[in-house]
């Protein structure tokens, strides 16, 4: 029978906290950047111009249909060789994860927008709104409510996907726990603690999101 000893992890607390900080900070960056990419992607696929639609679609599918681990490695190792673009591991990871997340966000945002009845934008147009005005004032406020659960879900996945940046030696929580595990010879305790840390952050967030959803649904 295995003898658990979590006490040993205490000496690595600063390492873990450091890693956790990197993980959370990274998540914030890739969620924000991803949403920006997603917004561009969504409006790109909804564009009146075929060339814009095709470009947006190509980007989205390229990132949506390839594994994120391959993208991370590709951004860091292949871009310098192919395009002469040198990036630090942090930049390469942030960019790859943002684009990967952005491709999923695009589809969520696009889905939300087209789920709004065409009569809504027609009513806006009939009042004399430009397409931009009716998008901002009429369609998006309604669409965002419908997108929130899916966006939240995707952001949770993004949070967990940051664990992959450890392959590029970005010192996130998983990377630091690898260090701790090698050092302490206690991988079971270390990775269990890591799993608990991820859950401890995500579970309260999901509860908050559920509450928010309910509040938003009231005004529908």
């Amino acid at each position: 029978m295995y003898q658990w000893d979590f006490g040993i992890l205490w000496s690595y607390r600063w390492l873990f906290l450091n890693g956790l900080g990197v993980t959370v900070g990274f998540t914030v960056v890739i969620v924000v950047l991803g949403l920006v990419f997603g917004l561009f992607g969504a409006f790109g696929t909804l564009s009146r111009f075929k060339a814009v639609r095709l470009t947006a679609l190509t980007f989205i599918e390229a990132f949506r249909c390839t594994p994120i681990l391959v993208q991370l490695i590709w951004f860091y190792y292949a871009l310098p060789i192919l395009a002469g673009v040198e990036m630090t591991p942090v930049t390469a990871s942030a960019l790859a994860l943002s684009l990967y997340g952005g491709s999923f966000y695009s589809e969520i945002i696009r889905g939300g927008i087209i789920s709004i009845d065409k009569g809504q934008s027609e009513a806006g147009a009939a009042l004399g709104m430009t397409p931009g005005q009716s998008m901002r004032r009429i369609v998006l406020p309604q669409a965002i409510k419908r997108m929130i659960p899916a966006l939240m879900n995707q952001s949770i996945i993004q949070f967990k996907n940051t664990s992959l940046v450890s392959v590029l030696a970005v010192p996130d929580l998983v990377y630091q726990s690898q260090v701790a595990a090698h050092d302490s010879y206690r991988p079971l305790e270390t990775y269990t603690a890591v799993a608990v840390a991820y859950a401890a952050i995500l579970i309260p967030l999901t509860i908050l999101a559920r509450r928010g959803e309910k509040r938003l649904a009231v005004s529908e």
Partner: protein
């Protein structure tokens, strides 16, 4: 007629794919005139109405409302979005399915056009919106969301929303077709009141008795052409064309107007 006409449509054509929905339609509406468009579904009457405020872009012909004229087809470019928006701000439209903005209260719905399109100060817009809501008999529903209103109330809010833009003309696209029968009267009463105030209106409707009372001209359309046109009572009481007669035979033409006293 063209001297005083508010709406003038010439040689309007529109196809959706290979389906020619409007075939060379011309139409005049005098200032303060009320024209009813009737006809079987698929006759093109809704498309014609949507061509008047260019919600649907015609393939050919011309549309003039007030002093603004647009020509379509052969070499003429479609107007840009800003020109279109400015033009539509002067034409009010009421839809079959209301299309109220569900994320806004009744008052906000009516204020939205004045604030976003006319750049009116919030306080002025609110005053205007409250006045329009009072006009359709819904002043006390200002702070409710559309979801809490009946169909008839929703449609009256939609009318108030269109009126808040202080349009030159009002277009009604089967405004009572989605309503329960007992709610039709309150909406027709509002439209009738607008007519009596001299609003220029084009009304697509299946309420033949209402059209007979309120419209001064009636147009019967079928398969994208105007089959018969004339003074509303005359066309309804003494249709000349076989197609008009056949269509009207489905309705109780002489039936009384639904009660117009209901206001809430």
């Amino acid at each position: 007629m063209s001297e005083t006409s508010k709406i003038e449509i010439r040689g309007l054509r529109k196809s959706f794919g290979s389906n020619e929905v409007l075939k060379n339609i011309s139409l005049d509406v005098a200032k303060g005139g009320v024209v009813a468009l009737i006809g079987p579904s698929g006759s093109g009457k809704s498309t014609l109405l949507r061509c008047i405020n260019l919600l649907v872009a015609p393939d050919g012909g011309s549309v003039r409302v007030g002093d603004t004229r647009f020509a379509f087809g052969d070499g003429s470019k479609l107007p840009d979005v800003r020109t279109l928006a400015r033009f539509r701000a002067t034409t009010g439209m009421v839809f079959q399915h209301f299309n109220l903005f569900p994320h806004m209260t009744t008052l906000q719905n009516v204020m939205e056009g004045p604030i976003t399109v006319r750049r009116m100060a919030k306080a002025d817009a609110e005053k205007l919106a409250r006045a329009q809501l009072a006009k359709v008999g819904l002043a006390e529903k200002a702070d409710q969301y559309p979801a809490t209103l009946s169909g008839g109330q929703k449609q009256r809010v939609a009318i108030a929303r269109a009126l808040a833009m202080e349009p030159d003309v009002m277009l009604f696209d089967e405004a009572t077709s989605a309503l329960d029968p007992e709610l039709v009267g309150e909406v027709l009463a509002v439209i009738q009141q607008l007519a009596s105030e001299g609003m220029t209106m084009v009304i697509v409707t299946h309420e033949i008795a209402f059209a007979r009372e309120v419209a001064d001209r009636l147009i019967f359309m079928r398969d994208g052409v105007v089959v018969e046109e004339g003074p509303a009572r005359q066309v309804i009481d003494h249709p000349q064309e076989t197609a008009t007669r056949a269509f009207l035979s489905h309705f109780h033409r002489t039936g009384a107007l639904p009660p117009a006293n209901a206001t809430s």
